[in-house]
Subunit: 157 residues, 2 copies
């Protein structure tokens, strides 16, 4: 069996196990570096009372802890389902080399998850979203960015 | 001063303080329920080696812990900058009543952050993204969803 298939089967196994453990939704993910799984995650939203505890987020946080880095340079992420916008964002901030996924956002939608809806909302103007996004006091917030840009000690990411 | 302005000024204050503390980027957020700030967050990406530790994610996780719930029903989130796709996704999964933000994604881009880029990638077909998103073994992952849908004890979110 190809290596990639083994990693993906592990992510899918975590997803299936999670239906039985009832810790959260049917989602699993693993992070691989240099041919080795360095972190695993399963969905812990309901077990941990944490809406951000998707399998990918859990795995990314563990992998970064293992690497002592906020970047996943040279890593691959295997997810049992296409990452939602939250997880896609986390992936882009972590900057792995590639992402492999099995089920699609449409499959997640058929299992009653909001993935497709959130992708649409992500691409909707803030003021037209189902959850109202309202801008205010922009001028005061800009000052924080100016301070950041002026600080030569800043640690960009 | 209107209440909303006070909450936002606190989020902006957290953002400004963070430039000095050098724990992460110039971003702050607070979660408000029934006229009271129940959680605060500032960006801790570099301090914690955690690419997911954006101010909104930190504040949402703390607020959920305080409420012992994976949902932020009846809450408002105040963020010093427009939430990135990761934070937007987290917000939709937490389902607060409203979001207020100050600086825009374009302002973040001018301060060298990837927010606008990640919004574009979110709206790009998976196989055309800058980080390759590759689908494989969909059939095997579907089984996890079927098990989930068949489990009458499931805890949806």
């Amino acid at each position: 069996m190809e290596e990639k298939e083994k990693y993906m089967l592990r992510a899918i196994e975590l997803a299936k196990e999670n239906v039985l453990s009832e810790d959260g939704g049917p989602f699993g993910a693993v992070v691989v570096k240099n041919g080795k799984i360095i972190a695993e995650g399963k969905n812990l939203v309901t077990a941990n009372d944490d809406p951000t505890a998707h399998a990918e987020i859990v795995a990314i946080r563990k992998a970064c802890e293992a690497l002592k880095s906020h970047q996943l340079a040279g890593c691959e992420i295997y997810a049992s389902c296409e990452p939602c916008p939250m997880c896609l964002g986390a992936i882009y901030w972590a900057r792995p080399a590639a992402v492999y996924y099995a089920a699609s956002r449409q499959d997640a939608t058929r299992a009653y998850f909001d993935d497709s809806y959130i992708y649409r909302e992500c691409n909707t103007e803030p003021e037209k979203r189902k959850i109202p996004f309202i801008q205010m006091q922009r001028d005061k917030a800009i000052e924080a960015f100016l301070r950041w840009m002026e600080n030569e000690q800043r640690n960009p990411y």
